[in-house]
């Protein structure tokens, strides 16, 4: 019996073997033994807090290689420092594409940096996969078929806030605070789209520069406008100031805070836990400091992985969670390419995820892509700040902003 299965299995393998051999196809940067992936990250300069992402990805691929690689091929991860300077990104990426001959660029970080190479990558037809920015322009397969985002875009997130606010407030009057750049404006556009015909419910929009020392006067203006819903689209520092100032003024609107500023350590604590009660935000990744995930299998696996492969790293830094999740998705994409390691096939596989579960995403959030949908994660769950931590509530919310 055993023998027969063996024979059967062997002959099946023999039959399949020529087909597999015939299918082995490679583009530049991939071979029988190796797949070269390129990356840029700000290891130096003012944005170097993000460097944790690059380091996590590097550690992840090293662990994958130690375990035998992807379909027997090792991943060679070349990550260069661009210091968050777009002109430098161009130099570094050209060096990798034309010099090192990478198979694909993965997780290059920063909206301006990716903008600088957007056209170039698509002219060269080299995949620019799962970029580390939440701008909405990365999901444009018609004009840029070689570029794909990863995280929920700011636009989608704002639509979700708009829908929730409309559904839950009586006589909504919305006041908006947003950083005066493309990131802030992406949120504002999404909010307006989400409100639809109720766009006139926005009673006041105030902006600030990322370099402004405080946002006090903006918060006073919002309070005076009589708004009862506060859309707070600001980075960590301004977000904390806004939360504190609103409480000082005894202004108690329904407070929506963007996902960029969910960090308990960097935002909620400096703002004061008492002031931050009831603030609502959207999230798609598990928070390593959140005790409710302490027994979660994925979180435990991640924690053990961190201890083994990145000893000494600060586990409260959400960038490690992010880097781990996105590397898992990339590894799966490469695995699905099989022996057909062409750039076209890589994009095809990246655009072919259906309800795929990436570790450390919130339970219920799945990756979905298609040839016309280049936004892998588009679902978030709302959470409310209670006590000293976030508390998830409601259902997973989906918004297809494409």
């Amino acid at each position: 019996m055993r023998r027969r299965t063996f024979v059967g299995g062997a002959s099946a393998a023999l039959l399949a073997a020529p087909a597999v051999l015939a299918q082995k196809k490679y583009d530049e940067g991939a071979s029988d033994t190796e797949i070269k992936l390129g990356n840029t990250n700000p290891y130096s300069g003012p944005a170097s807090a993000y460097a944790a992402i690059g380091k996590t990805i590097d550690a992840y691929f090293k662990a994958v290689n130690d375990a035998g690689g992807v379909n027997g091929r090792k991943i060679k991860f070349i990550s260069l420092d661009d210091g968050y300077v777009p002109s430098k990104t161009v130099e570094m990426v050209r060096q990798m594409v034309e010099g090192d001959k990478i198979f694909a660029l993965f997780q290059s970080l920063g909206t301006p940096c990716n903008t600088a190479i957007h056209k170039y990558m698509n002219q060269k037809k080299v995949p620019q996969l799962y970029v580390a920015t939440g701008a909405s322009k990365w999901g444009d397969p018609k004009n840029f078929p070689w570029t794909m985002g990863f995280q929920p875009d700011y636009h989608t997130e704002a639509i979700i806030y708009a829908k929730h606010a409309l559904a839950n407030a009586k006589d909504p009057k919305i006041g908006v605070l947003h950083q005066n750049d493309d990131y802030g404006r992406d949120y504002l556009d999404g909010l307006k789209q989400g409100l639809g015909k109720d766009v006139n419910k926005i009673v006041k929009i105030v902006t600030f520069e990322a370099t402004d020392p405080t946002v006090d006067s903006q918060i006073i203006q919002l309070k005076d406008s009589g708004a009862n819903i506060f859309m707070n689209f600001s980075g960590p520092k301004a977000a904390a100031q806004g939360i504190r100032k609103a409480a000082d003024l005894n202004w108690k609107p329904a407070h929506y805070l963007n996902n960029v500023s969910v960090s308990v350590a960097a935002v909620m604590k400096p703002a004061g836990f008492d002031n931050a009660q009831g603030v609502i935000t959207a999230s798609y990744l598990m928070d390593a400091t959140d005790k409710q995930w302490a027994d979660n299998a994925e979180m435990k696996a991640w924690s053990a992985w961190m201890d083994k492969h990145m000893p000494g790293a600060n586990k409260a830094d959400a960038n490690h969670v992010y880097g781990y999740a996105v590397s898992a998705l990339m590894t799966e994409t490469l695995k699905r390419c099989g022996d057909n390691l062409t750039r076209a096939n890589l994009m095809k596989q990246a655009a072919g995820f259906q309800k795929y579960r990436v570790p450390l995403l919130l339970p219920g959030i799945l990756v979905n892509t298609s040839p016309t949908d280049f936004y892998p994660i588009q679902a978030v769950q709302l959470q409310r700040f209670k006590g000293e931590t976030w508390e998830l509530f409601g259902e997973i919310m989906h918004a297809e902003s494409t």
Partner: protein, 357 residues
């Protein structure tokens, strides 16, 4: 410093024009990426040239030339993006704009000397990215998002690739600018500039209009650096405020000091040095960590710093100054002291040695 030997100059020019043509024949050695890299070196050399005119030949220290570079880049980008000006026509316009900006900045700079001027220009460099993001200007500068441009196409149907043409474009501009600078420096005005650097009071007594010369030099210097910025807008095909941070200005100064203050050849060496080190510092730091087994996580800037300190010890006059000094001592070593040569060296030396403030 002695003038650059003419026959070498011709050899270098011929090589500079000839080698890129080998690109289709030897795509691996003369690769498109390397041509692009050399183009960025040329642009850096032009920027350092602008700074050298001001700091090396006129004695005014600037830590803010990244600002003029940014103004040049944005002037070119806005002209191309909004007014459909062809890329080559943006250079003179960017130069004029930067000249005016530099000239105006030169007025208050008159009252500041040495370190105070360095601080004032430092403030300028810090403020430019913020000004570019300012909402009133956003309509034309594109704010944080910047402006995406297209690369220059080879003219007259020349059978060149984009990178080849970009190289020639930059190379020709560089040759013209160095030729102009060389002529300025060897004219009455050039000698006046250097006289102001060496002994301002004496220069004033001799009837040189300090005010005029200092402000005009500031203008010319800004214009040349602005041209480099305009070239970079074409080369990178994208401008954004983040490209023009304070490190850019500091890199120009590093290029200047390393190449050789007060030397035209030093500008080229400085430009090559800073692009090369900037691009390979990270590779060097990983090499030290992985292959030499040192357990230090050296950042690219640390490597940059160590290289600089080492260079300053070995060649305090910059690479070009160091090479000249080495050549002199070699000649002296082989022929014994040449008494006829020494006064000539001493006479040309103040140009190189007195700017160390």
């Amino acid at each position: 410093m002695p003038p650059f030997p003419k026959k070498w100059l011709i050899v270098l020019l011929v090589l500079g024009f000839g080698i890129p043509l080998l690109n289709p024949l030897m795509p691996d050695v003369v690769s498109s990426y390397r041509l692009f890299l050399v183009s960025t070196m040329i642009i850096a050399a032009i920027a350092v040239l602008g700074l050298n005119l001001l700091t090396g030949f006129n004695g005014q220290i600037s830590l803010g030339h990244g600002a003029f570079y940014a103004v040049g880049a944005y002037a070119a980008a806005i002209l191309m993006d909004q007014y459909d000006v062809p890329y080559y026509a943006t250079l003179p316009i960017a130069a004029v704009i930067c000249f005016v900006v530099g000239y105006l900045f030169g007025q208050p700079a008159l009252k500041l000397e040495g370190h105070y001027l360095a601080l004032a220009t430092f403030a300028l460099a810090l403020s430019v990215p913020q000004i570019l993001k300012y909402k009133w200007l956003e309509g034309i500068t594109g704010g944080v998002q910047g402006i995406v441009l297209s690369k220059p196409e080879p003219p007259f149907g020349l059978p060149l690739s984009e990178d080849q043409w970009l190289y020639y474009y930059c190379f020709i501009v560089m040759v013209i600018l160095f030729w102009i600078s060389h002529n300025i420096l060897n004219s009455r005005s050039g000698r006046a500039m250097m006289a102001i650097r060496d002994y301002p009071i004496a220069a004033d007594t001799m009837g040189i209009n300090l005010r005029l010369y200092k402000t005009v030099t500031f203008g010319i210097s800004a214009a040349i650096t602005g041209i480099a910025g305009a070239l970079s807008a074409s080369a990178i095909a994208f401008v954004a405020p983040d490209s023009f941070n304070i490190f850019l200005s500091i890199k120009f100064l590093i290029g200047l000091v390393v190449g050789g203050i007060g030397s035209l050849a030093g500008c080229v060496v400085g430009g090559i040095f800073y692009v090369l080190v900037d691009n390979s510092a990270q590779a060097l730091s990983t090499f030290i960590k992985n292959d030499l087994g040192l357990q230090f996580d050296l950042s690219a800037y640390t490597v940059f710093g160590i290289l600089l300190i080492a260079l300053m010890y070995m060649m305090p006059m910059g690479i070009v100054g160091g090479v000249y000094a080495a050549m002199r001592s070699l000649r002296r070593g082989s022929k014994g002291p040449a008494p006829s040569e020494r006064p000539a060296v001493a006479a040309s030396k103040p140009a190189a040695s007195r700017q160390g403030h």
